[in-house]
């Protein structure tokens, strides 16, 4: 389904991704973890055909991301971390635009928007009358997720989809992600919320400084690192040292 071999990406002098090799079979929900700047988003952008790799190869459903970016884009769905949308469009207009880009017939588009609206409890009037600029963060994220799933992609990348969402919306998104994996779709889930990854992902990949540090099920990682929780494993691998001492020093500096 997703096959990555020695994938690298360099931005000038900075090497964001350094020779990643991964195989992700169909129907798996993979958690992609890493501290900020670990190369998660860059990897996803290469896998969605948005960025060309500097070296190495990657295939999604057999399509090469460098040679066949348009074919790759047809079969993937992507929820960007930024949650960017065209803010001056209404939700309905935005989703219709996205559907047209995938050549989904109008009637089918309307049906799907209706279904997603029912699932996410999106008010039809709000969708058709208000510009996205006036939506709350949660509502906007619902539209972004709907836009990523509208064409029924086989591979879906979620880049920090729970950022800034309230508990109810976050629960809807988590439930949706697990349901999609159960339906046989390959889901790559990038998040900093480790307990969510621990609970819903079948496989966990930890990136650090552009390299894969760990790859396996939670049980495999626990065994390899000799730690119990994903948080401890993550901390051990990505090295946050003397956290308590540094926090106390910072708090003291504020009060002085």
């Amino acid at each position: 389904m997703i096959s990555i071999r020695q994938l690298s990406k360099r931005f000038g002098e900075q090497e964001a991704v350094r020779g990643i090799t991964l195989e992700i079979p169909p129907g798996v929900l993979v958690g992609l973890l890493g501290p900020n700047g670990a190369g998660k988003s860059t990897t996803i952008k290469m896998l969605t055909g948005m960025l060309s790799p500097t070296s190495g190869t990657a295939e999604v459903l057999g399509f090469d991301v460098t040679r066949e970016p348009l074919e790759v884009k047809r079969v993937v769905g992507y929820v960007p971390e930024s949650g960017a949308v065209f803010e001056t469009l209404t939700g309905q207009e935005y989703l219709e635009l996205v559907a047209a880009l995938y050549h989904i017939p109008e009637q089918e588009t309307r049906n799907r928007i209706l279904k997603f609206g029912q699932f996410f409890e999106l008010d039809e009037r709000t969708l058709s009358e208000k510009q996205l600029a006036s939506y709350s963060k949660g509502m906007r994220q619902k539209v972004v997720i709907t836009a990523a799933l509208l064409h029924n992609p086989q591979v879906i990348f979620f880049d920090e989809p729970l950022n800034g969402l309230d508990a109810n919306v976050a629960l809807s998104v988590k439930t949706l992600i697990t349901s999609l994996a159960r339906e046989g779709k390959t889901v790559v889930f990038c998040s900093h919320i480790l307990d969510v990854v621990e609970r819903i992902c079948q496989r966990i990949v930890i990136l650090h400084q552009g390299r894969v540090l760990a790859d396996g099920t939670l049980a495999e990682l626990q065994q390899a690192c000799g730690q119990q929780s994903l948080e401890q494993i993550f901390n051990q691998l990505t090295g946050t040292q003397n956290l308590l001492a540094r926090a106390e020093e910072f708090a003291r500096a504020l009060t002085q």
Partner: protein, 541 residues
């Protein structure tokens, strides 16, 4: 399997093109103004309609020139020179938003759109916006032109074709210039080169309207000598020739040659932009959205810092004012969006001194200094209104969080940054051009003094209308043309009146008396406006 229909490997996908065009048009016509006025419901295109209305009136005024027995080619040339300026400026201003919108990468970058379809949609959007404005300017002249000497009954139809082709040419030229820059330079250099290219393009388009007619030394009354060789490199003349088809007033060979030039150059630009540059467009957009290591560009040397600190100790003694000054100064030097919007405005005021240099006849006339100071008057408002927007508007929440009772120190910081980084260099440049390069320059400088004295008061105006918070609005596609029109309009009228009074005083030899009256008046106005701004409570919208 996925439901995305497998599309044949054609590069222009008409269904996608239609969808993108609909989307871009909605965004261009709604903009910020539309959203605000309609309580953020699906906005009506009021902003762009307002500007269109103003051009409609301007077109009506220009139409009156037909009554001075002008031939059809000359009439069309004057009109299309103005349209060239309107259309070219609109295309240049909107292009950075439309063509290289970094945020768009996360929205469309992962969709299966061929770069050629995307670029074509963006170009057509640019053509649409510029044609709307150019069209508004030409609605009345299109019919009044029937009264021009030698005009045939089909003039309105040929004039529509001229406007469409002119809009296509201008937009395609802009696309080509940006396409070339992004191919040649990396993102950091692209920002700088694009900003300066935009200045150059604005200059070119304004030049097409202002300078070129003055270079036509063979103007006899208001008639262009048809065989003049200088008409061949002028794009407005190529398209004006279309209106002269069948006219007995102009030579058929001359008209045909000009039309051929227009069609060939538009076709070449189209081929370069869509055929050659489009394949690399997707990659170029991705290049712009790439993360990069940014150095704090435009840093001062240590000596400059020391000097600035001692000078600013008194001038920027309010800490909020100082912070606001530094924030805006950093954006003026480093931020791509701000640079692209701000610096092209510099092109407009340099036009008039340059006009004087090119046209020795008008060089010593009072027209040059008066017009220069007139345009300079609009610069602080245009610049400060531009500085209201940035690509990081959410960061301006810092002003809402900070315990500020009034936005006055924030506004004064921005105003001072505008004075230091824009107004002083602009005034110096204009003074050098008028005072040293033009004959009779010293008299010209004296003539510009009343306008110069008024500038500090003019620069206070943006702070008088509601709370001024810098970088707090997101730049919206289509909003550039509609922004600040009212304030600038008021300033232009006031500065125009002042220029008229200055001229009269200069003619009647009481310019120094006028200055003596003006200075206390300006001082009082300055004091009152500063007081008004300081008393305004901070309103966060």
């Amino acid at each position: 399997m996925t439901d995305a229909t497998p599309v044949p490997a054609r590069t222009i996908d008409l269904e996608q093109l239609r969808a993108l065009l609909r989307c871009y048009w909605r965004m261009a016509t709604r903009g910020k103004l539309g959203a605000t006025m309609s309580n953020r419901r699906s906005g009506k295109p009021r902003g762009i309609l307002f500007v269109g209305g103003m051009y409609l009136i301007l077109g009506l005024m220009v139409s009156s020139s037909v009554f001075v027995a002008m031939d059809v080619f000359t009439f069309s040339l004057i009109l299309l020179s103005m349209t060239f300026f309107v259309v070219g400026s609109a295309a240049t201003l909107e292009s950075s938003d439309v063509l290289f919108n970094v945020g768009e990468s996360d929205i469309l970058g992962h969709r299966p759109i061929h770069p050629r379809t995307l670029l074509l949609a963006k170009w057509l959007n640019l053509v649409g916006v510029s044609m709307f404005l150019g069209g508004a300017l030409n609605v009345f002249p299109m019919f009044f032109g029937l009264g021009a000497r030698g005009a045939r009954w089909w003039f309105p139809m040929t004039h529509v074709i001229s406007i469409v082709l002119l809009s296509m040419f201008c937009s395609m030229a802009v696309v080509c210039v940006y396409g070339l820059i992004i191919r040649l330079f990396d993102r950091n250099k692209f920002d700088n080169f694009a900003a300066w290219a935009q200045v150059a393009m604005s200059f070119l388009f304004i030049g097409g309207y202002q300078i070129l007619p003055r270079m036509m030394n063979r103007f006899t009354g208001l008639r262009v000598e048809s065989y003049a060789a200088y008409l061949y490199p002028l794009p407005p003349a190529w398209f004006a020739a279309i209106d002269a088809i069948g006219s007995t007033e102009n030579d058929a060979v001359f008209v045909t040659l000009l039309i051929a030039l227009g069609l060939i150059s538009t076709a070449i630009l189209t081929y370069i932009a869509i055929g050659k540059m489009a394949p690399g467009y997707g990659e170029a957009l991705a290049k712009l959205s790439e993360t990069r290591q940014l150095r704090a560009g435009g840093r001062e040397t240590v000596r400059q810092k020391v000097r600035f600190r001692s000078a600013s100790r008194w001038w920027l003694r309010d800490p909020v004012e100082r912070a606001s000054f530094r924030l805006v100064a950093a954006y003026m030097r480093r931020d791509r969006e701000v640079k692209l919007r701000l610096y092209p405005q510099l092109g407009s005021f340099l036009i008039f001194p340059l006009m004087g240099l090119l046209d020795r006849h008008s060089a010593s006339s009072p027209f040059i200094p008066l017009m220069t100071i007139w345009v300079l008057g609009t610069l602080p408002i245009a610049a400060m209104e531009t500085l209201r927007a940035s690509s990081h508007p959410a960061a301006a929440d810092i002003f809402a969080v900070a315990p500020l009772t009034t936005g006055a120190p924030v506004f004064f910081g921005v105003r001072k940054a505008t004075i230091v980084y824009l107004m002083i260099p602009a005034v110096c440049l204009a003074a050098v051009a008028i005072g040293w390069l033009l004959p009779g320059g010293h008299a010209g400088l004296v003539l510009a003094l009343p306008g110069l004295v008024a500038l500090p008061v003019i620069s206070l105006l943006p702070g008088c209308v509601g709370s001024y918070l810098p970088l707090s609005r997101s730049p919206q596609i289509g909003s550039q043309a509609s922004k600040n029109v009212t304030l600038i309009f008021v300033t232009m009228i006031s500065m125009g009146l002042l220029a008229g009074v200055s001229y009269a005083a200069w003619k009647l030899d009481f310019l120094w008396i006028l200055l003596a009256i003006e200075v206390p008046f300006v001082a009082a106005a300055y004091w009152l406006l500063v007081r008004h701004i300081k008393n305004q409570s901070l309103h966060w919208d």
